[in-house]
Amino acid sequence: MIDGFAVELRQVVKKFGQVTAVDKVDLQIRDGEFFSMLGPSGCGKTTSLRMIAGFEMPTSGQVFIGGEPQGYLPPYQRPVNTVFQHYALFPHMSVYQNIAFGMEMQKVDKNEIQQRVGETLEMVHLSGMDNRRPKQLSGGQQQRVALARALVNRPKVLLLDEPLGALDLKLRKAMQVELKILQDQVGITFIYVTHDQEEALAMSDRIAVMNQGKVHQLGTPEEIYEAPANRFVADFIGESNFVPGVMQKMGPPAEISVTGTEQPIAVEWLEDGINAGDAVVVSVRPEKIRIHPMGQAPTYPAMCRLSGQVEKVIYLGTDTRYLVRLNEESAVVVRLQNIISGGGHFNEGEKVDIRWDSAHARVFKE
C-alpha cells in the first residue's frame, strides 16, 4: 500500500443523464477503519459505494483500492466484497453453496473451501445450517449468510449497503453490536452505508455526512454530533434547535440579536462566510439547554440567557421535553433527564428562563 489508505476517492463525479448523483467527492478511508457514509436517500452514498465495488463507473475522477487506481475494472476483478441491502442470496443454492461461491470462482482448493466455509459459519453463529436454503432462514439469519458470503473471501475492504435496513429494531440493535465485534475480530476495513444516524454514530470510527452528492462533514461521531459543520449536518444528525437572529458584532466576542428579543447573546463558533448584519440561525442541542423558573437562572460569563413560556411538556420516560416559546416566531426544545422520578418540574404556561453555554451553540447561515 503506497499511501496507507484502504480506499480513496479523488474528485469522483457520477452523473446519471442530467442528474449529478456524486459531485467531486474526495474521501480517504484508512486501513482497518469502520467508515460510514451517512445521508438521506439520494445523497450519493450508495452510488459512491457502488463505484468502489465497480457496479458503477465514475463519470470522472478515480477510485483507488489499496493505492491501486481501479479505472474501469469490473466488480469481479476488485479486491472488495459487498453485503447487499436485500442480501441478494442465491435462492437456488444452499447456505454452503452461497458462501463457497466466491471461492469457487477464484478456484480455491476444495478442502480449503470446506474449511473456510465452516470457520466463517461459526463466526456468524450459523454452524449446522449448511444445507438450508435462504428461503428457510429468518431475516437475521439471511443477513448473517450474506455477511459470511462476503467475509469468507477475506477482502481488503468490506462494503455494506444498509445491511440492517430490513431487520426489525431489536434485531438491528443486536446486529450493530455484533458487526462491530466482528470487524474488530477480522480487522478488515468496513465501509458502511446507512441513512440511520443512530446506527452510524454507534458503530463508526469516522462518518462522512453526505447530501446532494457532496460530503458535508467528515469526522468522528463525536465531532459530527457536537460540532456540526453546517445547518444540514446539525439538522440531520440528532435533534437541534434553530433560533433565528441577526449577526450583530463579529467580535470576539461575537454577538447575535435573537429575533424578537432585545438582549444580544454571545456566540463562539461561526460558519465561514458570515458577516455582520447577515441573517443567521443559532443552533443548540436540546440537552445542552438548562431551564429555570423566571428570574432564577444563575449568571455566569459565557452563558446565554433567554426568557420564554413553557408551551408543551412531553414526558418520555428517560427524559422530559419542554417546548419553550420565546416569541411568536421561535420556540426551543429543551430536554431534561428525569433524574428524580415524577418528571414534571415545570408546568405548561409557566414563565421560565433558559440558558446555555456559548461553547455549545453553532451559528449557521440562514
Binding site: P74, Y76, F84
Partner: protein, 287 residues
C-alpha cells in the same frame, strides 16, 4: 335452496364446477374415448368403423413405413425446440433486461404477427421460399449471388423454419416470465463474488430460468410434433410428418381406426413428456 347452499359450502363449489365438468366430459373426454375405442376397431369401406375388436391397427403403427415417420417427426420437433430455444432465450433475456415500459412494447411486437391466421402466414413463407419463383431465390439469382436456386422449399429445412417461426413466442414468453421475476441484484452479487459474465450466466441466471425453459420447450415440442399445416405447405407434400399421415387417414384413406391408433400413440408420447415436465417443475418448486 339458498339456506341449503349456505349450510353446505361444498355443494356451492360443486355447482360452480358444473358447467366446466359438463364441458370437459362432453367435448373433451368423450372424443378422447372415441379415438381410443376406434383405434381397436376395423375400418369401414367408406370411412367410419366396423365394430370388430382388433389389435391390427397398433401392429401397423409399428410398420417401418409409419414408425419411421413418427421418429422423423420427433426429430423435427426436437430440432424445432432446440432452435427456438437458441433464438428465444437471448430474445427473452434482451426483453427482460430493458426498462419496464419498453418491455411491454417489445412483448407486444413479438405477438403482433400472430394475430394473423397461421395458415396465411405459412403461405407467406411459401412465396418467400419456393424453389423457382420464391422471392429469396429470384432475388439472389437476379443479383448474381447464386446461379442455381437454393433448396429452401419442400424439405425438412422449410418445415423446421416454418415451425420455429410459428412457435417462437411460445418459447420466448415463458422464459421472459421467468427472467422477469429474476432479481438482477443476484447477477451483481455474482460479479461481486468474482464471477465474470459467463460463470454468472451458468451458475445463477440459467438455473433460475430453467422452469421457463422447460415450459417453453413443452409448449414448442408438443404442437411441433403434431404439426400438419407447416409440413403440408412448406414440406411440398413430399416431406411428411405424423400429423399429415393422421389427417390423411381420416380425410383421404378413410381408415379411421388406423388414424385413431396413430393419434393414440402420439398422445401417449406427449403425455409421457408432460409428466416428465411436471415432475421437473415439482423438483424446481422444492428448491
Amino acid at each position: 335452496m339458498r339456506e341449503k347452499l349456505q349450510r353446505f359450502p361444498a355443494l356451492r363449489a360443486w355447482l360452480l364446477l358444473l358447467p366446466a365438468t359438463f364441458w370437459l366430459i362432453v367435448f373433451f373426454m368423450a372424443p378422447l374415448v372415441i379415438v381410443l375405442v376406434y383405434s381397436f376397431l376395423e375400418r369401414g369401406t367408406y370411412g367410419g368403423v366396423v365394430w370388430n375388436f382388433t389389435f391390427e391397427n397398433f401392429q401397423r403403427v409399428f410398420d417401418m413405413l409409419y414408425f419411421s415417420t413418427f421418429l422423423r417427426s420427433i426429430y423435427i420437433a426436437l430440432l424445432t425446440t432446440i432452435i427456438t430455444l437458441l433464438i428465444g432465450y437471448p430474445l427473452a433475456y434482451f426483453i427482460a433486461t430493458r426498462p419496464p415500459e419498453r418491455r411491454y412494447t417489445l412483448v407486444l411486437a413479438l405477438m403482433i404477427p400472430f394475430w394473423t391466421n397461421f395458415l396465411i402466414r405459412t403461405y407467406a413463407w411459401l412465396t418467400l421460399l419456393r424453389t423457382n419463383t420464391g422471392l429469396i431465390n429470384t432475388m439472389l439469382m437476379s443479383w448474381g449471388i447464386i446461379h442455381e436456386p437454393l433448396p429452401l422449399f419442400g424439405n425438412d429445412f422449410a418445415i423446421v423454419l416454418g415451425l420455429v417461426y410459428g412457435w417462437l413466442p411460445d418459447m420466448v414468453l415463458p422464459i421472459y416470465a421467468a427472467l422477469d421475476r429474476l432479481d438482477f441484484g443476484l447477477t451483481e452479487a455474482a460479479g461481486d463474488l468474482y464471477a465474470s459474465g459467463f460463470p454468472t450466466f451458468r451458475r445463477v441466471i440459467w438455473p433460475l430460468s430453467i422452469p421457463g425453459v422447460v415450459a417453453g420447450a413443452m409448449l414448442v415440442f408438443i404442437p411441433s410434433l403434431g404439426a400438419f399445416v407447416a409440413p403440408a405447405i412448406l414440406g411440398g407434400g413430399k416431406s411428411l410428418m405424423i400429423g399429415n399421415i393422421i389427417s390423411n387417414q381420416f380425410l383421404a384413406a378413410h381408415d379411421w381406426p388406423f388414424g385413431a391408433a396413430l393419434s393414440t400413440l402420439m398422445m401417449t408420447f406427449m403425455l409421457a413428456g408432460t409428466l416428465i415436465y411436471f415432475r421437473a417443475a415439482k423438483r424446481g418448486d422444492a428448491q
